[in-house]
């Protein structure tokens, strides 16, 4: 394989992953890793590339796509303390865990994420969805329900650890916690999650870089591909009819997660 072919293949993989990630609402990172593994790339390098994609997706999603940004900065920063600590601990543990364990864990997380995406299909239809489908709670109100805040912090710590272990942004888990535990409006949850994914992935990326899992010739075409694919995927989501396609892509991801599980178990 020549350098040209490597760059082109990574670019195309990540553009496709970015587009599918936008359409299914799963993000780019979690899509790039199983596809790279499917094409026989090393799991650790795939995870490093997935993280770089996660950071780019978050920035592109925040800066170029979400014009009606509803990021809940206060809550985001509070929860991010748990995520960042979890992400660093998870990323530090990666070097000591077997590829078999990581592959199986990734398969399970991908499977869970796919099911979550299946069931929240209606919610992520941006055209139909109102920004404030629920009344927006004030953070002072939330503080009265300290148990909920503590529960969501713990949940975020776990999400951060998974993010560190698997090289993903775990955006779906974050949305789930904000939506179900804290009862935030869906668009506020997704916008705040997009903001947090970037910080989580960047924190994890630092540790992965020190492990030597970040390879520039893999990362840069992946960044370019995801930025382009994610952008067009999001435009498509807003303007086009994507229902049947999203179901098809969810099935593809389901297949990839089963393939990861099978691969992990047969290692």
């Amino acid at each position: 394989m020549t350098v040209n072919e490597l760059f082109l293949s990574i670019f195309l993989i990540s553009a496709t992953a970015g587009c599918i990630g936008s359409l299914t609402g799963l993000g780019g990172g979690i899509m790039v890793i199983p596809i790279l593994c499917f094409l026989k790339f090393d799991l650790h390098f795939a995870m490093g590339t997935g993280l770089a994609v996660g950071v780019t997706n978050s920035l592109v999603g925040t800066a170029l796509l979400k014009r009606d940004n509803l990021t809940y900065l206060k809550l985001g920063m509070f929860l991010e303390t748990g995520i960042a600590i979890g992400a660093i601990l998870g990323a530090l543990a990666v070097a000591h865990l077997s590829v078999k364990f990581l592959t199986i864990l990734f398969g399970f997380v991908l499977l869970a994420t796919t099911f979550s995406s299946f069931f929240s299909n209606k919610k992520s239809d941006m055209k139909k969805f109102d920004a404030f489908d629920k009344p927006m709670p004030d953070l002072n109100q939330l503080l009265y329900t300290k148990v909920r805040l503590a529960a969501s912090w713990c949940f975020m710590f776990i999400a951060g650890s998974i993010s560190g272990l698997l090289g993903i942004g775990s955006g779906v888990l974050k949305v789930l916690a904000m939506d179900m535990i804290l009862g935030l409006p869906y668009k506020v949850s997704t916008s705040t999650s997009t903001f947090m994914v970037g910080i989580t992935a960047a924190t994890t990326l630092g540790v992965y870089m020190s492990h030597g899992y970040i390879k520039l010739p893999l990362v840069v075409p992946a960044i370019l591909g995801t930025a382009l694919g994610g952008y067009f995927g999001a435009l498509w989501l807003v303007k086009g009819k994507t229902g049947p396609l999203r179901i098809l892509f969810n099935l593809v991801i389901l297949g990839l997660s089963l393939e990861m599980l099978y691969k992990g178990l047969s290692l």
């Binding site: 760059f7 920063m77 910080i199």
Partner: protein, 117 residues
């Protein structure tokens, strides 16, 4: 200033940063492929195994652009959290200033450690 309005304002900064990083990545990739595109992947082995600290010492404009585009993306994230921390400081929102400072510190330690390694 309201938090949501502030977040909208920081968009401009993030947008400029991400555009710059993407332009650098396109430029770097273009030059890099013109120079090394025809080589087999094994021909860029030193680049594949180099740490980020070493990447900036390659003295090749294309490698420099590629590495810089990647670091710009990390730097934007770091600066963004720093701006949020400063915002909470100016609002005298001390608890959230502490939270955002912790996040900024963790992020900067992580990036600095990786660069030095």
């Amino acid at each position: 200033m309201d938090y949501f309005i502030f977040e909208k304002q920081t968009h401009k900064f993030v947008k400029a940063g991400i555009y710059l990083a993407l332009v650098m990545a396109i430029l770097g990739t273009g030059i890099f492929l013109m120079q090394y595109g025809h080589l087999p992947v094994k021909g860029i082995e030193p680049l594949m195994t180099a740490s980020f600290h070493e990447l900036f010492q390659f003295k090749k404009p294309s490698v420099f652009c590629l590495a810089l585009s990647f670091f710009l993306i990390l730097a934007i994230q770091l600066l963004r959290t720093l701006i949020v921390a400063i915002f909470f400081f100016l609002k005298k929102d001390w608890w959230f200033f502490i939270f955002s400072t912790i996040v900024t510190l963790l992020l900067s330690i992580s990036i600095a450690t990786s660069y030095l390694n």
